[in-house]
Symmetry: D2
Subunit: 399 residues, 4 copies
């Protein structure tokens, strides 16, 4: 694994747990973790349970006894690491967004396609597909339970930078993060809604905004909080009263059309006061609707319009039954799971795909397509919200 | 009052109730109701409690003992009736949207301004401003409790025409209704959010859609249901298997910017399966947020970001205390009110304005500005979602 | 009508509205209202829309042109007025609880049975039976949709006397009110749950408490608020720092068994801080469950355990469809109704019963049975929570 | 650890995770697991991550390199194992309920007190105390934010045995489980509410019921599901159509008084259709109220009656901030945790107590007091719901 901050901790918890819960054809060994700061990565390796550590990610690629490389760094280094790992025949799990630019994403998707021919597997870390309620939404749509999809309504709202004194962490810098709310959390709702509906976004009209344009420089940051211990070693020089420009969007909103005829609204913001991790999706079809909220991820609301009129209503389904996706291995009904479990489920599917010689989803090509949507959003916003078609991926991809 | 269908019944209930609940400087007498079908309007007058009826709206304008004309017809007749009433010196309450075209709305606003000079009052029926929780939202914003407004998120979702066999009622015909979801329910969220934030929409990028393009012709329709008794006499010729084209939008979605710097998404749809009357608004500011849902109109969620971090949360305020707007006259705390009460509150304020010589809000000029937003939305949608500025009203208006 | 305070206003609104909304075989004329304070009842008659007023309730009984007497006074005068009205051949609607003592309730039930033989109708005002969601719960149980009832869980929580400085209004005095939370709000949950389940409570074990034992005397009080204008003329002598003893319960809790085998918990309290009018009921059966909350009275949660396991959940049914009880006469789906509508529905059923010669429910005998349950609760509490059987009514009664 | 079924898996996940998340003065080594079935415990050791396994729990007690014994068996073996472990100087974590009888619980509490003098720590596994929202409730009460506690309202509702064909698993047999819903889930709400309020239950009046008195015998069972793989080796002889008597309660309901003056209702049931793991608690005080629901364990509703009246409401606090108990070590705000995390928190506190020489809570004496409450409930139910005082523990205990 490369990276040991927020995503590194989440992935470590998943690697550590997956074989303790699921009965799989292969077991994960947590062999080597990589980070740029020697002291910190050593500490992380010890705490998170990795056998060894290194400060050079090439060590992961070069070791023969390593089969899988898990890329948990900021987006600016995804392409370099993933391409090297694929070239070396390693299976690659790469965090989202796949890359900071469409160009890099295209190279990665091409490399993944090439590697696939040699049995090398690759997957992008859109972990929310593996939240049981999300998987169940996909199944309901696929089973025709919603009929023709008319509307998609998706927001991903956070509020961690509402305070103008919140420092200029790497996620607020375009060269490190690629974009702001758009790529960080907007990417999730684009992928999730395309996955659930089985439809692709074809065009968008967008507005983006950076509400706070200058922020204090910070010594260090980790996760979504600037003051946490540990950090990922991404130091921003300077301190005290010095400030720097925020070079990414604070919020991105767009209307869209999907290739199956649905209309959609999307909104990603870090300025939605009171919303902490509010990925909320509603999908309306001719036969029914579903509603999901990541802050209550064990629940799915399902409206079945084929029921008798007087009994129709949104059913709050507690997605904790053995019959629900991924849940038979966990606790009895009603004993809820948390955010981290989506990663455990992701690792389960990735391990299973590798062991059985199947291609896991979402592929790098799927992730490229998400990148193309984000790119269309950014271009539309730059062009005064003009309608902007999503470029074709040119590679055949299946959601 | 002109019109005796859905709005006519709602207004009648309000006129009948307002002086029984509120202590006001004047009392309403329900003198004369007008409708085109003699038998039906006679029945309506008797049932709804009007002293007399007529089939010619000019009788209302001509009678000297009538002070107020309440226009509850479809939008295509608003201008003619309201203009005549204002010219005759009658105070006018006109249902929303003010008119079916911007041109008509401009004429009405101009006439209202002229009449105002002679002490004639006019008001547009955006009744949801008078839902106590909505009024309270406005107060919170005005008191600075939300700080700088960053986001507006507004939907008005219904599902009464999801069934393609639902007939071609007047609300689905452009010549009668002006537009579809946009003018019928979109108008409400435009007015409500501008009222609450005190900001105006300056530009939009929109998509609209008519999902079901042909529908069966119907003999008659009333309210939102095609099969209800009574109806408003708006007969659509033909019957049986014949169909006709739906000439209005089923759904309208747009992103917008407000003049105070906020970004917004709006969605009005009659195809949101399971949503019956879901006017939902969320507003995020730098100091707090509010959330409102018309299906739970007695509740307001308020997030106060100035509270200690560990205690912050969305507070579900039951807006039924004597301290809340309009509520001291009703029942004890927790004894909820319903949809129709917003009309009673509207009549209260209208009567009070007339009796005290004040100008009620929203004025026709305010309603014109809403019409201009709807017009910008329609034009943006026609122009492939290109960014479209909202035309100035040219009349000074205050929200 | 006798009484013009909180219940008087609610009943007036219902009498005024019922024929405007429902098509009924008879129309209510609001002929005469009675109160003890001449000035106040005159004002109330004018405001609430009664043709005349009197200070002597016997005038209602004696006037030949009056067919119905509606008793809205505190419980200590129910028996005297109702007995006289029945004796005079008037149909009687009497607010709950039927009486302050079992003895009075027995006399009233006997008189009602006698009068019934002459076609005189009587009904007790347990208005919550007429909340559409409650009526629907009854139907679901009656249709076998819940299977064998296992559990009833009912609370009625308010908080209007949490402040020890809240004055000693009539509702806190045993001689006027009979009991405190028990008779005022506990009576509602006893009646409602027996009505919905079709089962009778057979025995109870109870605790009651008066948390604040002395309160300031107040000049006047109305509704649930002590400071409201108007009042019902029930003056408590004295003022300022003087206090008097609270002679009723602040809270009553009990476990119970129902004759169909269900176990139940009941709680009525005026000390549940934050709960304004929280009548909440959950019923669990072998095939399903229902949940109701009066603060969201337009909603019913229904869990249908015969659905596929993975899709089971509590469905939030918005009870506003034309298919739902009482709702076809109101507004389109999703346009909610309020507390007062339960009285309009009650008047509808009462008028219909009178006009068609049917006996309305709940009868005085039904209300006597509720009184017997309350009596068992009070006796159990006095006897250190010992198990106490509910006395038989000796009159045949049907829920 | 002794036991490898439901609780064994949950505890293993916690032991495996605790040092990966929290920085503690000691690290847990998962040395030895014990179970009666050799093949199954071997499989469990391998899957759950234990270094070795045994079929004789005495091996745990006898090994010098083992410091801690974690007792996860059914209640009938708690006393024997825990007493032996304490005698051998091992720190003991024992699952709840502490024992199947008061007598055993008394012996265990006495042994724990003796061992404590030698620095041996013991703790009972009421893990829900460590749900962050529950810990926060305790803090709010302790800080006086609720004022004088008036009401406790606690239910723990499940529905896994509603089907009469669900087999006779060990949890339905008195000799193995001690009691049914009462000891299994009722114990949790007794402990939790006493912990949160800081008050002890002094007396109760109870009803209990066994709705389904005969059930099919089953070959094996695990967790709450009878058909799960693995199981805990607790074989019930017989199969096919044979049935046996259910010897425990299906539901237990009681009213109670607490030593601080509060009134309370408690209900534990396995027959609440649609409720999967619904531990719900509401506490009303003179200054505020709190509400908790285990199915939404990341949320706490807090009503602060000291706020301005118009702004009072139940605040839905997402208990995921770094400022909240236990949460700084987990994910960013809004990224929720699950059921299993309560065990990780429990292990954190237990390890810390051992390492720092402090006594963890709840002690065996605390758990004995819970047992005495359960005993009073059972006795009250047997004596026809007569009021039953909770016996004193005779040992000084602090909540």
């Amino acid at each position: 694994m490369v990276g040991y901050a927020f995503m590194g901790a989440a992935h470590s918890q998943a690697w550590r747990t997956v074989n303790r819960v699921y009965d799989l054809p292969a077991r994960a060994r947590m062999a080597l973790i990589c980070g740029r700061d020697s002291g910190k990565v050593a500490e992380a390796a010890d705490r998170l349970g990795w056998e060894a550590y290194t400060t050079d990610w090439r060590d992961l690629v070069n070791r023969d006894d390593i089969d899988v490389v898990d890329v948990c760094t900021p987006g600016d280094s995804h392409a370099e690491i993933a391409l090297a790992a694929l070239a070396a025949g390693k299976h690659v799990l790469c965090e989202k967004p796949l890359a900071n630019t469409v160009q890099e994403a295209r190279e990665m998707a091409a490399a993944a396609a090439t590697a696939q021919a040699s049995g090398v597997r690759s997957m992008c870390g859109f972990n929310y597909r593996r939240v049981p309620a999300v998987t169940m939404m996909r199944q309901l749509v696929a089973d025709g339970r919603l009929g023709v999809i008319r509307h998609v309504r998706a927001v991903y709202l956070q509020d961690w930078i509402v305070d103008p004194q919140f420092p200029l962490v790497w996620r607020l810098q375009k060269d490190r993060a690629g974009s702001g709310a758009l790529g960080d959390i907007g990417a999730h709702i684009v992928d999730l809604t395309q996955y659930v509906t089985g439809q692709r976004i074809t065009g968008v009209s967008a507005v983006t905004e950076t509400f706070v344009k200058e922020r204090p420089l910070s010594a260090e940051s980790s996760g979504l909080a600037a003051s946490a211990n540990g950090g990922d070693g991404q130091v921003v020089d300077g301190a005290g009263p010095a400030t720097g420009p925020v070079t990414v969007d604070d919020a991105a909103l767009f209307v869209a059309r999907l290739d199956g005829g649905a209309l959609a609204t999307y909104e990603a913001s870090r300025f939605a006061t009171g919303r902490k991790n509010a990925l909320r999706v509603e999908i309306n079809g001719s036969l029914g609707s579903v509603v999901f909220d990541l802050e209550r991820l064990n629940e799915l609301e399902f409206y079945d319009a084929t029921r008798p009129t007087a009994e129709q209503g949104f059913s709050r389904i507690l997605v904790t039954e053995g019959e629900h996706p991924y849940m038979s291995a966990w606790w009895p009904p009603g004993h809820i799971i948390g955010y981290e479990h989506s990663f455990t489920h992701q690792m389960r599917d990735f391990i299973e795909a590798i062991a059985t010689g199947a291609d896991p989803a979402p592929s790098f090509a799927d992730a490229l397509q998400v990148q193309l949507v984000l790119d269309a959003v950014a271009r539309s916003a730059e062009l005064g919200s003009s309608w902007t078609e999503v470029e074709p991926a040119l590679t055949a991809v299946a959601v």
